[in-house]
């Protein structure tokens, strides 16, 4: 699937990123191919916000459509409400 289809709170692994420049910028942010990310917010019709550790990155919808990801079923279950909130995840 592509990143724009991700739901809020979903964990994903990045499979591919389009283009050399985007890849280089992504590596700096630590969201290169193979990394695990969490989708923390989806702005309706707008950007997707993903988080890796405590770093949040906004990705425009057009770009998100070109990023392929695979959904991960709970790699590290996020049980603590405090941590859920820290990641901006919706309540279970």
């Amino acid at each position: 699937m592509t990143l724009d289809e991700a739901r809020e709170g979903q964990h994903c692994r990045i499979l591919s990123l389009p283009g050399k420049d985007i890849r280089a910028q992504a590596i700096r942010f630590g969201i290169n191919e193979g990394e695990f990310i969490t989708c923390t917010a989806v702005i309706p019709g707008g950007p997707i916000i993903v988080a890796k550790n405590r770093q949040e990155i906004a990705i425009g919808r057009g770009l998100a459509k070109k990023i392929t990801v695979e959904p991960i079923t709970n790699p590290h279950p996020v049980k603590f409400p405090a941590r859920r909130r820290a990641y901006g995840l919706p309540r279970p």
């Binding site: 700096r28 942010f29 630590g30 917010a41 702005i43 019709g45 949040e56 990155i57 906004a58 990641y87």
Partner: protein
């Protein structure tokens, strides 16, 4: 060579040691800079660009600030500037955010790989602790191979230690992968740092050495990322605590349902502060009270005693558009408080981390106007000064976006000074006219953007930005930023203003003003249905936009006429300064198209409006 240029352009003596502050955006670099350099700081436009570099002499050394970047390369204008300053550095103080170590250490490792002596200031260590992040500083120091000093910049903790540690700066542990790639190039460039950037495919540095950029960027970046992740895994221990109201507020700011009301609220507060408090209360004291009440009569008497006021020189100096009367009143009485108020708000907004969230919120809408969310930044800046904002369009990623943003800025964004005059004129007319004005100008902005997006080939580029944590702005930092920006603005505006006043004054003295008014009357009187004196306002508008609006201020106009003239003057050509910047930024050919196009549109829209309303 970059370093020689830099010394020359910034007037730094060749022998002096250059200490450069480098770091990601929003890590508190400027707080360090302010702490090290004290009150007086030089701000200089960077050679070849218009990005500002702050620097100051401290003892025999020079301390230089750089724009916040995530790495050294040439993805955008900020990075190019940071790259050249870092390349010229003798010692680097790398400020890193302890909360986002995995992001920030990428730059750290890159500078280490460049082989420049450095120290690391591990900033916001208190915030990390609050969020349950523990960092093994000794281990970090060992792994990086450079001194690491924990600091809390906003509480001034650790500053002394950083200052002392500069003497112990050293080259760190570079990536082992580079050892086989670098030596060959290093022989050629005589600089490890530049050799590395050529390996990483930086076309500008490669061109400087007349070699072809290499294509090892991804390989090196990935190796560096692995190294950074290993370091972070070894030194950071996270305990799962710490959630804050910040994360929820951050979400609210970005989701439309809550984000739009929050944005409207913010704009209302800004309007109350700038549009009402500063533009009306403060300006009425400074302009009418102090300047027109005391200063102008004083200077008129003083000069009038030597030169007769009705003579040509007298008119030019102390007449209606006099250099010593109107210019001074206008700059000190009207512009100064406004610009101060605007930059104060803007600096506070910038430091709070709200701007990137607004960019996320409006991304969807701006995509239709051919910009992405980042395009909101020049537009917001444009409400301060269109000229300065036109320069920041450089931060947009494609020429297409720069072109659209420049056009929209020139056409539909009134700058703070102009806005102030408009606000005070509109507030006399009542809420219905205010609404109508805002509605008209917004529609014009949206229509123009949509049209440009359709006409110009290509598509807007996609947003890819870091969303920094929300923070309370630090008053000292905000004030200092405001002071620097205001000083620059006034320095730049004063000569233009004086020149403009002189120009109008000469037109008046020679009677040309009257001729021009009559000559323009088919447009002003027949088509726009305004008194013929409004022509003066439009001529003044060429000099400065706000100057033009001010020219309307004292005319007696019916409410409908006032609205027509205000909409026309808003769209009307940008002032000389911003027209020059447009020419400089976008080239002569484009400037020559933009300029008459806007002039034509201004009179077309104004006229249509007048035919409907009056």
């Amino acid at each position: 060579m970059a370093c020689h240029d830099l010394n020359y352009e910034l007037k730094i003596p060749p022998g002096a040691r250059k200490i450069v502050l480098a770091g990601n955006p929003n890590v508190g670099k400027s707080v360090f800079f302010n702490a090290f350099t004290g009150l007086y700081v030089d701000v200089s436009n960077f050679p070849g660009t218009t990005l500002e570099i702050s620097y100051a002499q401290v003892g025999n050394d020079y301390v230089l600030d750089t724009p916040g970047v995530y790495g050294v390369s040439s993805f955008n204008e900020e990075e190019k500037v940071a790259r050249d300053v870092i390349l010229a550095a003798d010692v680097i103080i790398n400020v890193v955010d302890a909360v986002h170590l995995d992001r920030d250490l990428f730059l750290t490792q890159q500078i280490i790989d460049m082989g420049i002596p450095m120290i690391v200031a591990l900033n916001m260590i208190d915030e990390a602790a609050r969020k349950g992040i523990k960092i093994d500083v000794q281990k970090l120091e060992e792994l990086l191979g450079v001194p690491v000093i924990p600091t809390v910049a906003i509480k001034k903790q650790g500053f002394e230690e950083v200052r002392k540690a500069v003497a112990y700066a050293r080259k760190g542990n570079s990536l082992s992968e580079l050892e086989e790639m670098l030596p060959l190039l290093e022989k050629k460039t005589h600089s490890r740092a530049e050799a590395l950037l050529i390996l990483e495919g930086d076309p500008f540095v490669a061109a400087r050495h007349r070699v072809k950029p290499m294509d090892r960027q991804e390989e090196i970046y990935l190796a560096r990322r692995r190294r950074v992740d290993t370091i972070v895994a070894a030194v950071v221990r996270e305990t799962n605590t710490g959630a804050s109201i910040g994360t929820r507020l951050s979400r609210w700011m970005m989701l439309p349902l809550t984000g739009i009301p929050l944005l409207v609220l913010t704009l209302l507060i800004l309007y109350e502060f700038i549009g009402v408090f500063v533009a009306q209360t403060v300006v009425s004291i400074t302009e009418e009270g102090i300047m027109q009440g005391y200063y102008e009569p004083f200077i008129r008497n003083l000069i009038g005693a030597i030169i007769p006021p009705s003579s040509i020189i007298g008119t030019l100096l102390i007449g209606e558009f006099g250099i010593l009367t109107m210019t001074v009143t206008y700059i000190l009485g009207l512009l100064l408080p406004l610009v101060l108020g605007f930059y104060l708000s803007l600096s506070a907004l910038e430091d709070s981390g709200y701007l990137p969230r607004i960019a996320v919120l409006v991304d969807r809408v701006l995509m239709r106007l051919g910009l992405n969310g980042r395009g909101i930044i020049p537009i917001i800046l444009g409400f301060g000064c269109v000229t300065a904002a036109t320069i920041t369009t450089r931060l947009l990623s494609t020429p297409r976006e720069r072109r659209i943003a420049t056009f929209l800025l020139a056409m539909a964004i009134p700058c703070s000074a102009q806005l102030a005059v408009i606000t005070s004129m509109l507030s006399r007319l009542g809420p219905a006219y205010i609404f109508l004005y805002v509605f008209l100008v917004t529609s014009i902005l949206v229509l123009a953007g949509t049209a440009l997006n359709l006409i110009l080939p290509g598509k807007p580029s996609d947003l890819l930005i870091d969303v920094p944590p929300l923070r309370l702005p630090q008053p000292v930092n905000v004030l200092k930023k405001t002071a620097t920006r205001t000083r620059n603005f006034i320095q730049e505006a004063t000569p233009l203003f004086a020149g403009g006043a002189l120009f109008i004054g000469i037109l008046q003295v020679t009677g040309l003003l009257n001729t021009l008014q009559n000559w323009l009357s088919p447009i002003t009187v027949s088509w726009l249905q305004l008194p013929k004196e409004t022509a003066t306002a439009f001529i003044m508008g060429f000099v400065r936009r706000d100057f033009g609006a001010a020219g309307l201020y004292n005319l007696s106009l019916t409410p409908a006429q006032a609205l027509v003239s205000l909409v026309t003057i808003t769209i009307f050509v940008p002032c000389i300064a911003s027209a020059l910047v447009i020419f400089k930024e976008r080239g002569w050919r484009e400037g020559i198209i933009v300029w008459p196009a806007i002039l034509f549109l201004a009179f077309l829209i104004g006229g249509l409006l007048s035919q409907i309303l009056i």
